[in-house]
């Protein structure tokens, strides 16, 4: 068996048929050089097998990784469908509150204009009109508005 090194890995992995295995074992039993090479190769192969098996079974924590992947995929926060209706984001809430305050202040200072219901315009942080498609989304908060919120205010008398 001239090229023993080609057969060492196959022998160690059990890939030689019975006849080839017999020839291989016969050769290394009679050739000290090949026997030494086989012993050294077997030692490394066993070490790698042990290391690989240990690493394959190493406990790893991937839960945190999923949150990061989900964020990068721009998936919304998980919320079962039967739960409470969708809510505004905190940024949207602030915008709405600011608009309401402005409208109330304006109506208080200008009674002549308060001759009918006032519908304040809702501004997004960026200044654009609020609609489902135009609201910025954040991966960690659910920002979906079913319809543009409107307020009907009773004029101050």
């Amino acid at each position: 068996m001239r090229h023993i090194h080609d057969h060492i890995a196959k022998y160690l992995e059990g890939q030689l048929d019975a006849a080839a295995r017999s020839r291989f074992e016969g050769h290394i039993s009679s050739c000290s050089e090949c026997r030494a090479e086989f012993a050294a190769s077997r030692e490394v192969w066993l070490e790698m097998s042990d290391a690989g098996r240990l690493l394959r079974r190493a406990p790893v924590n991937v839960g945190r990784q999923w949150n990061l992947v989900r964020r990068r995929l721009h998936l919304p926060a998980q919320r079962p469908s039967h739960e409470a209706p969708r809510r505004l984001s905190w940024k949207m809430s602030l915008s709405v509150a600011a608009a309401v305050m402005a409208a109330v202040s304006s109506m208080s200072l200008n009674p002549a204009r308060a001759d009918g219901p006032a519908i304040p315009s809702i501004q997004t942080p960026g200044g654009a009109a609020a609609s489902v498609a135009e609201l910025p989304t954040q991966a960690s908060t659910l920002v979906v508005v079913e319809q543009t919120p409107t307020l009907t205010l009773t004029p101050v008398k």
Binding site: V44, E47, G52, L55, V62, Q65, W66, V69
Partner: protein, 195 residues
């Protein structure tokens, strides 16, 4: 499994999470074996799954298993990470012999394995191999892939994959024998000096 992938490809988030939880541990372990650094390996896992979940329709089950496809993506990301980092990262270890402890960022792979009886210089020798040989060895011994699957993952034939594993093992043997010889020679020098 096919149903889970089909649902995930259709945008079902729970299915996507199921795919991730089922396959990410193996991808993480493979990446740790290739890179030797947990933080880098975690980034590879994220990159690989973001790509995979966005491109599930590209997976062809007639060409490879889903895990092999994922490994192919992860190997590409590992290669990119290696190119950006030309020095291997070496993490300092605070060793505590905890039997079931995870591979953490403060614990190198060598130390983690040494705690479990594996020769300390083995994994150092693995990382000294060329990238092609290292990938073949890690895919074979950590990933548990066949030579055909290794070839699919790294882009070569199964015979070439087998040759790389064999050559990689020979390389490990020479390194470790050389290290042992140097140690024996050093001991001999010390013994001579103390005579």
């Amino acid at each position: 499994m096919d149903d889970l992938l089909a649902l995930a490809a259709a945008g079902d988030e729970e299915a996507a999470e199921g795919v991730f939880l089922r396959f990410s541990p193996a991808v993480l372990r493979l990446s740790i074996g290739l890179l030797g650094d947990l933080e880098d390996a975690e980034e590879v896992v994220q990159d690989a799954f973001v790509y995979a979940l966005r491109n599930l329709k590209r997976f062809d089950p007639t060409k490879s298993s889903f895990q092999t496809w994922l490994f192919t993506i992860a190997i590409s990301r590992c290669r990119n990470k290696r190119r950006r980092k030309w020095l291997p990262s070496i993490s300092l270890d605070w060793l505590a012999p905890q039997e079931h402890s995870q591979i953490g960022s403060q614990r190198s792979v060598e130390e983690w394995l040494a705690l479990r009886g594996v020769r300390r210089d083995l994994w150092t020798a693995v990382w000294r191999l060329s990238p092609a040989l290292r990938e073949a060895l890690v895919l074979r011994f950590v990933g548990g892939l066949t030579y055909l699957e290794i070839g699919l993952a790294v882009g070569c034939g199964d015979k070439a994959a087998e040759s790389r594993v064999r050559t990689g093992l020979s390389g490990l043997r020479r390194q470790m024998q050389g290290a042992r010889q140097e140690w024996d020679e050093w001991l001999a020098i010390l013994a001579e000096a103390n005579r």
